[in-house]
Amino acid sequence: MFHIYCPYCEELREEEEFHPKGEAHIARPEEPEACSDEEWGDYLFFRDNPRGIHHEMWLHAVGCRKFFNITRNTVSYEILETYKMGEQPTVGAEHLAREEKTASVQAAEGGQQTVGASDAALASVKGAQA
């Protein structure tokens, strides 16, 4: 069970107080109508599942009710940092993740969506973190 430092409460608390909310830094496109169906599908449904550094969003559900981000190693489960919503991580494997992502782009059989996002879709979807 994780021991999580809430950047708002500034204390280590038990995992039971938190809800995991999936990958962090998934910004909603500013202009959804300008997205193709495929880009919108990528924003809605496709997430990274890296072996190693992962930025993920958590909620201090039965504490301060604040959303915040965690940089976590998905192999060792080590939490490398927690930071407030709107801040950027200081520990990252962004370039690594991007390389892996580009390499893994492939058309899904018979579908209209891709497995993993293209760089172009990434650029339009990720945008600047609010």
Binding site: H3, W40, L44, M57, L59, Y77
Partner: protein, 1022 residues
């Protein structure tokens, strides 16, 4: 004295048992005696009980092999009564108490007369690895039948059929340093860190702390080790910052130094926890420990050698023989042969001889063993046969002889003539395996060490393995290693630990010769033809089975493990895993590290469910939430329905006159009566459980417009609007009304079950996407009680109770007003979930019962009828009002529901869900759409969930085109009716659909609109 005389293997002196007291216990129906200080295993051995179980697969007789947690055979069922049955207890870890009752878990009908032994004897060639996969494959339908008998014959123990009389605890603990294991390494680590000032928790799984010090031959400061142990434990007990937890197993190492400990508080005292000073005490306790640093001083398990018939009772681990003699004063036989690859095991022969029994020979696989213990054995006149090993044990119910010959370890061949040595006990030792279980729970992969011939743990930051747990075995080095671990942990925690070597006790130096790597012993016959050489005793996995697995192409040790079941069960491969890997490596012509390792998962040893559950059972299993009117509902005889954690009145059955007295209404009768009351008179519903979220801030209105599908810009104070909420995938996720309390102040209602998720949803969007909006959310669900007064008579009933003008023009449908009801400040909302005239009265929860009772006092004149959730469902369905989660399932858009009127496509902001509503899939023809269904036969109430087809005579499989989402009998319509989703349903009004039922009947129904009663919606406006 006559009783102890039956303990034929008990020595007259020695060991840590109290011979002045005698305890009586029962095993497999026979009565025996033992002493305080015994385990069940030592007491059984003292009484010469050889056969403790039947083996899992071949049903071979099995005896006690080990003296601790690693025991694979002596797994017993404990309990004198049905309610106190405990399966899966290792006799080696169960302290003896007076009146203990135990039996074998395996053997049907019993361990002595066992049906399966014939399979074991005759049928074993027919039970190769993968036997169950291969044999019981076909026909698949028979598996359930096979399984019943397989389970019966398999040694899994059984659960009690009566409730557990005991209570169990959970306890949260925080400490600077957790030390697991109170042997020499753990004790010195704990003492060092504690003296430096750290808060230390020291847990040990045994009855007595001390680990190897409890049976060592060595001395500390020229005194028996027990003396140092006593002094050290006393020193620890004196320190305020040390907590000692004996009988406590660290069974799981979870993330971030979270370790679960299972403390057996009373299991050494009796069948059920005795009360203490008149209070019940918990039988066991689960400690949930969050530690700053952890030292794993878990020691090492001895590896048995793998030779033919090494499972016959009388084959023991060498170290276990020493433990039984030195700690319990029990010699488990008359005449010993020791087969070893190392010096350490010589202790067993020396202890055996000193106990006055005969040692036939020590058979050492090394050609020229040279250590001090070897010299000591030779000096004691014990015959030492070098370069040899025990190839095979003879005997069936008990060892009768050992077949010994010279072997070539590297070539895996028998090189000499076989000599048969008569004996009743064979002790074996292939060296030691560090207990790396907890370290590998963290995900750290163990690493093979040629130096110690075993895997040593790698650890994550903050965890240190110490002593035997990392392959450090000489006592002096173990103590120093513990001090170092304690010092490092204390330093890492910020304490300055002054290490003073002079604190370490003096250990007599001893020369130990190097061990040889020995696992499986060669036999004259090839492994596949030799008598069975067991690797995993608990799961009956033989060296031949592993060889077969490799021949069949299983090369990864993980696959071999699953194919043969090696390392499964409660044993988790404590004795067998390394030997199994060695056999696989030999067959595959590679080294052990090349073959891999298997990691261990929690739990280290089984944990009783009671400890896992703790106090979270019965009424404390899950919280129950009540509305302020709960006691009234109970007094009125309501039946309740669980909605999330809420208890909601389901219906209120009344007494009816019947033949010979009175009877309670059925649900059908009660619901029909309640429905008619609302449609014709007036009813009241306790709607307090609806989620209520108070929303404030200058941007509250803008926020609502973004989160709801419909428009909010023009909703004036005093007005209420129905809102529909979608995910960004365009699927309906919640609905409810939101009222404008003031320009920057709104009250949102949610479905009962969604109150918390919707609040989280609002916070998510506000905090992560639109932090620039100034808006605040707060749950007020429990602050306000809600009572819905509804029906044609509702206005008349309320008129005298409130100062609010109820005139239909002054207080319109979808308005809300503030005022007083029954003298209490109230908000009254003219919203309707029944389609009738309705007033939803909200008052502060503390006043709710007063208002509720005032309503009933006034309501007597109107026959005010309380109704429950079932009537609410019928009434809303008659009006086609959906229930999110019942009529929707996460794949339904607002358009699928026919709620185009609630979609603000022209709102300026791209609200949540909008973009997805124009995806090709959400726009396509033939989506399932919400419609009404009217059964052709009015008496039929369609089954909720029933599948719908267009063509009832279509060949199977029929294309399914939808399903029934809500279905009830309507007393108003005097007919069954239903809501359903049907492909393209909105374009199919008037068409017939068919519902084939499980019993072969096929119902016909007509597709109609969703509003069955008052389709124009006039009644709610009156």
């Amino acid at each position: 004295m006559s009783q102890t005389a039956s303990q034929s293997n008990r020595l007259a002196q020695g060991g840590q048992v109290d011979r002045t007291q005698t305890l009586t216990f029962t095993f497999n129906g026979r009565s025996y005696t033992g002493h305080p200080g015994d385990t069940l295993a030592s007491a059984l051995l003292a009484n010469g009980v050889d056969l403790v179980n039947r083996s899992f697969k071949y049903s071979r007789p099995r005896g006690i092999v080990a003296a601790g947690a690693e025991e694979p055979n002596a797994v017993v069922q404990l309990g004198a009564t049905e309610a106190t049955q405990v399966p899966n207890v290792r006799a080696t870890q169960q302290a003896l108490y007076d009146g203990l009752v135990a039996c074998s878990t395996n053997g049907w009908p019993d361990a002595q007369r066992d049906i399966m032994r014939w399979v074991g004897k005759l049928g074993s060639p027919f039970m190769p690895p993968g036997f169950y996969y291969k044999t019981f494959m076909a026909p698949a339908s028979m598996w359930m039948t096979y399984e019943k008998y397989i389970r019966k014959t398999a040694g899994l123990g059984r659960s009690p059929t009566q409730p557990d009389p005991d209570i169990y605890d959970h306890m949260h603990r925080h400490c600077d340093l957790l030390v697991v294991g109170a042997g020499p390494a753990g004790l010195s680590a704990a003492l060092t860190a504690a003296r430096a000032g750290a808060r230390v928790l020291l847990a040990d799984e045994q009855e007595t702390m001390g680990g190897s010090l409890l049976d060592t031959r060595e001395t500390l400061d020229d005194q028996p080790a027990a003396q140092w142990l006593k002094t050290t434990l006393a020193a620890l007990a004196e320190l305020d910052n040390v907590t000692l937890l004996p009988r406590t197993t660290a069974h799981g190492y979870h993330d971030h130094h979270f370790v679960t400990l299972h403390e057996r508080r009373t299991e050494h005292l009796g069948d059920s926890a005795p009360s203490q000073a008149g209070h019940r005490q918990s039988r066991s306790r689960l400690h949930r420990v969050r530690a700053g640093q952890v030292v794993l001083a878990t020691g090492a398990h001895e590896r048995p050698l793998v030779y033919a018939n090494n499972d016959v009772p009388g084959n023991l681990l060498a170290g276990a023989v020493s433990t039984y003699i030195r700690r319990y004063g029990v010699v488990p036989g008359q005449k010993l042969v020791l087969s070893t690859s190392n010096d350490h095991a010589y202790r067993a022969a020396l202890d055996w001889q000193e106990a006055g029994r005969e040692v036939a020979a020590i058979v050492d696989a090394r050609s020229a063993p040279q250590g001090d213990l070897v010299a000591q054995a030779k000096a004691a006149g014990i015959r030492v046969i070098t370069g040899s090993a025990v190839l095979e044990a003879k005997g069936t119910q008990r060892v009768s002889a050992a077949r010994v010959a010279a072997i070539d370890v590297d070539a895996f061949t028998v090189t000499g003539k076989v000599e048969t040595l008569e004996c009743d006990t064979i002790a074996s030792s292939g060296g030691y395996s560090p207990v790396i279980h907890l370290a590998s729970h963290t995900g750290a992969r163990p690493v093979w060490s040629d130096d110690i011939i075993g895997f040593v743990p790698s650890t994550v930051a903050g965890v240190t393995a110490s002593g035997g747990a990392r392959g450090v075995y000489p006592l002096g080095e173990v103590l120093a290693d513990g001090v170092e671990a304690g010092t490092n942990a204390a330093t890492a925690l910020g304490f300055s630990a002054a290490v003073n070597d002079a604190d370490l006790p003096r250990v007599a130096s001893r020369h130990e010769g190097s061990a040889c790597a020995l696992f499986q012993i060669p036999h004259e016959k090839a492994t596949l033809r030799a008598p069975k050489q067991f690797v995993d005793l608990q799961n009956d996995v033989t060296a031949a089975a592993i060889e077969v697995a490799t021949l069949e192409g299983f090369e990864s040790i993980e696959h071999v493990k699953r194919y043969t079941a090696m390392g499964f069960g409660t044993d988790q491969g404590k004795l067998g895993n390394i030997n199994g890997m060695a056999v696989a490596a030999r067959c595959l012509g590679q080294s052990i590290p090349e073959t891999g390792t298997t990691v261990f998962r929690p739990n280290y040893t089984p944990v009783t469910f009671g400890a896992v559950v703790g106090r979270h059972c019965r009424e404390l299993f899950d919280p129950e939430r009540y509305t302020p009117m709960q006691s009234w509902h109970v007094a009125r005889g309501a039946e309740f329905e669980d909605v999330g954690q809420w208890k909601r009145p389901w219906y209120y059955p009344q007494k009816r006159r019947a033949e010979g007295g009175e009877r309670l209404e059925t649900m059908h009768e009660a619901v029909a009566r309640e429905c008619r009351a609302v449609r014709e008179g007036v009813g009241i519903l306790d709607a307090s459980t609806l989620g209520k979220i108070d929303i404030q801030g200058p941007d509250a209105r803008e926020f609502l417009g973004r989160i709801y599908t419909n428009k909010w810009q023009k909703l004036a104070p005093g007005r209420v609007r129905y809102g529909l909420m979608c995910g960004d995938d365009g699927m309906v996720m919640d609905d409810g009304t939101t009222s404008c309390l003031a320009e920057n102040h709104f009250l949102m209602t949610t479905t009962t079950g969604n109150a918390a998720p919707v609040l989280e949803w609002l916070e998510l969007w506000h905090q992560t996407e639109w932090p620039e909006l100034e808006v605040y959310f707060n749950s007020v669900t429990d602050h306000w009680a809600t009572m819905t007064v509804t029906g044609p008579e509702a206005r008349k009933l309320l008129t005298d109770l409130t100062d609010i003008d109820l005139d239909r023009e002054a207080f319109k449908f979808m308005d809300w007003r503030e005022g007083h009801v029954a003298g209490v400040p109230a908000r009254v909302f003219r919203i309707s979930f029944t389609g009738e005239l309705a007033f939803e009265i909200n008052v502060q929860a503390h006043y709710a019962m007063h208002v509720w009772e005032a309503l009933f006092a006034r309501g007597e004149a109107f026959d005010l009828t309380p109704y429950g959730t079932e009537t609410m469902h019928v009434l809303r369905a008659e009006k086609g009002f959906i229930i999110v989660g019942q009529d929707t399932d996460g794949s339904v858009t607002p358009e699928d529901l026919g709620m185009h009127w609630a979609i603000g496509y022209d709102k300026p902001f791209p609200w949540v869900g909008k973009r997805a509503l124009t995806r090709s899939d959400t726009r396509r023809e033939g989506r399932k759409q919400l419609v009404g269904l009217k059964p052709k036969d009015a008496s039929v109430v369609l089954e909720e969930g029933a599948q719908i087809v267009f063509e009832p005579n279509h060949a199977i499989p029929m294309p399914m085109v939808g399903h029934v989402t809500s279905s009830y009998y309507s007393p108003t319509l005097e007919s069954g009716f239903a809501l359903a989703v049907v492909k393209g349903g909105h374009q199919r009004m008037g068409e017939s659909v068919y519902l084939p039922m499980v019993d072969g009947r096929v119902h016909e129904a007509e597709i109609v609109g969703t509003q069955f009663v008052d389709p124009k919606g006039e009644r709610q406006h009156v």
